[in-house]
Symmetry: C2
Subunit: 146 residues, 2 copies
Amino acid sequence: MTKPLNPPIFATPEDVETAFYDAIEKQDVDALMACWSEEEEVVCVHPTGQQLTGLTAIRESWQAVLGSASFRISVTPVAHWQGMLMALHHQLEMLLVGKEETPHGPLHVTQSFIRGAHGWRLTSRHASAAGEPGEALPESNSHTLH
Amino acid sequence: MTKPLNPPIFATPEDVETAFYDAIEKQDVDALMACWSEEEEVVCVHPTGQQLTGLTAIRESWQAVLGSASFRISVTPVAHWQGMLMALHHQLEMLLVGKEETPHGPLHVTQSFIRGAHGWRLTSRHASAAGEPGEALPESNSHTLH
């Protein structure tokens, strides 16, 4: 696995999250992987229901995702919990794929962060589609969910 | 909302979790709600994609769920992170509904906990179905996921 020579320092969970979404938008797998903890267990659940554990599996999966299309993600916070060494963000994501103008989503996303040697890092991301079977949420109603 | 006169003291996140699954099995909404924090924001995402915020919405939803059927849940831990005041459990759940003998699932579940005045309490639960569209995971393969 490629390890950055100078790992970035993220002073807050919000800094990691900004870097994470920037990396997705730039389709930059190295920058995206620099957001994940190298000291802790890491888990990523994609909205497809696929679960990945460990940096190698997470890298390979995001390489495939970012190689297939570009994404822009807009985030609506739902709830944040912040401790000295751990933080948790629960939020809604809307996705713009490639040059499409109609957003996909919303996704429910729970992301957790731990503070380590190089500041804050992502330890888990759990994303899943919103809406109930047979009761799909109109995309324009996403603001009523929080 | 009914508030228990003597709120239980949960010494660890594991104690809350055990009480939570016991309450589901016993279809006891009061016991289930005693697991949630009354001091923090609370969020629950059901595997249907429905998101609930706040104790009132969470109680009503679980009242409907537990009123419709009994559940037994078996849990396979995937990753745990534990701090002084916050903890996060990521795990797989298999569900036995009523007297059925074939389990449903697995579900990916992320649960977060915060330590407060009465010990540890649940602050968020995010559950979603495992498996990719067109690539359903055979239930017997759930052990290969972690």
